[in-house]
Symmetry: C2
Subunit: 292 residues, 2 copies
């Protein structure tokens, strides 16, 4: 099984190394030469060009940031559809608008290859452990071709439907909730600080109460430790809640909670924290309320 | 141990019956005669007047809706401070503003009694099982006097500080999160419906993903079953998020997420669903987007 991973950020690197650990032949590509070198140092292989990395692959994971990057890598001047081997499957992991996923799938299938709409969830730590959650949809052929490789990088692979667009729709719903919950967690912990409460006790009580969320439990420790090194950056949520808003507006569906959360992430980005950890929304509240 | 429970709504009734099941002598009071009768049918005792119910009690639980009711019952024309026995403790369970809790405690202590600021969390089902969570603060004497009775109604009693106002502050932070999470859960599930997704699968995937919250997990089944009989009503959150907003404004602290959620609960109430289950916010979205 030959696997290629395009995009070696924290998620892609974790996935590529998990596949290596399973004994697969893995080539990795990233536009950053130092990142490629880091993958080679970890025991992987790379190549000078995108083409050389994907040419012999059975499965190509695209672990990119957005639709623009994904489209460029698949269909651009050096696009991989010109290089892929017979029967190859593209596994697209970015959070895309469902219509982009449908469009990319149709164009890839027209060239004779398979496409799996497969956004990932779980964060960098789970990626490194090979325990991601994948929200996937696509043709039975795409699933069959991708399955052995998916099992190397994921703990859970949800098969959500037989056409592209469904996986990304699930991911969008998840990101709406995740973004709102981060904003709410940050609002609540900074409000608790303003109320003069013992924040360690607040964390202990809330995580055992009806006000708990996965995000409160996961992100508030960053706030308590004042450690805003990016595990997942503010910029991911300005992007993903932007996609939520675009889709909702197109469907004439109101999403006021997601819209308010987006504004908070935009304020946090505008205040200079776009590349910092997404729990930086709490720093924004603390800054506004002079709670440094 | 003589216990009195004032306010026999679903929470108070559950607490009174849990204390009965522990073998305590329990008198219950409610202004509604039929509710008093229901408590007697369940093996409890009552009285025609508030005074007769609290007169011999060591511990008086006030399980009321708000500060106005709580103040009336303690200090009003028929207020219980005129009737209490030596050493009695008032355990106030409503979600109050911290300054009201501090004010009530000071006035109760001035009369020679104890006051425990003890908001409860967990809902009617946990109340019936005697497994509530209590976020309590007050003097060591108030804790000592209330402890045996609290242990009959609660699974967890958090001792959060030695003065009134801290317990309610924790509860307010919890309610901010709980209210935002219900609104977000309802926005997300209705958006998923608009996206044409299989909602049972959405529930399955989200409850195992980073978008999960205690409220999503607990309330979305009401939406999937279209069962809006009130376990906890919309009106509780128009009240509690109103308190959050009042306190925040007084402290000059911005809470845009809580404010947006409050507007959604107010819209749901305005559309005629104030007494229905709080998951009715999803019905509001479905109504607006014609997703009946």
């Amino acid at each position: 099984m030959d696997i290629a991973v395009v995009g070696l950020g924290s998620m892609g690197m974790g996935m590529a190394r998990s596949a290596l650990a399973h004994g697969a032949s893995v080539r990795g590509y990233d536009i950053r030469a130092d990142v490629r070198a880091a993958f080679v140092a970890a025991g992987g292989r790379t190549g000078e060009t995108l083409a050389s990395v994907v040419r012999d692959a059975d499965v190509v994971f695209l672990v990119l940031v957005n639709a623009k990057q994904t489209e460029e890598v698949i269909f651009g001047p050096e696009g991989i559809v010109k290089e892929l081997s017979n029967g190859a499957v593209i596994v697209s992991c970015a959070t895309l608008a469902p219509k982009d996923a449908r469009d990319f799938a149709a164009r890839v299938e027209e060239k004779g290859f398979h496409y799996l709409d497969a956004p990932i969830s779980g964060g960098a730590a789970k990626a490194a452990e090979g325990k991601l959650t994948v929200m996937a949809s696509g043709s039975p052929q795409a699933f069959a071709a991708a399955k052995p490789a998916l099992d190397m990088v994921a703990e859970t692979v949800y098969a959500l439907g037989d056409e592209a667009g469904i996986g990304t729709s699930f991911k969008i719903v998840n990101q709406l909730l995740a973004g709102v919950h981060i904003a709410a967690a940050c609002e609540a912990i900074s409000f608790a600080k303003r109320l003069g409460l013992d924040l360690t006790k607040v964390y202990e009580v809330i995580t055992k109460s009806a006000g708990n969320s996965w995000m409160f439990e996961n992100r508030i420790p960053h706030v308590l430790e004042e450690d805003y090194a990016p595990r997942s950056a503010v910029g991911i949520f300005t992007k993903d809640l932007g996609i939520v808003g675009d889709i909702a507006r197109e469907l004439r569906f109101p999403t006021p909670m997601a819209a308010e959360a987006l504004q908070l992430f935009l304020m946090t980005a505008a205040a200079g924290m776009e590349r910092d950890d997404d729990a930086s929304v709490a720093r924004l509240y603390n800054l506004i309320a002079d709670l440094q």
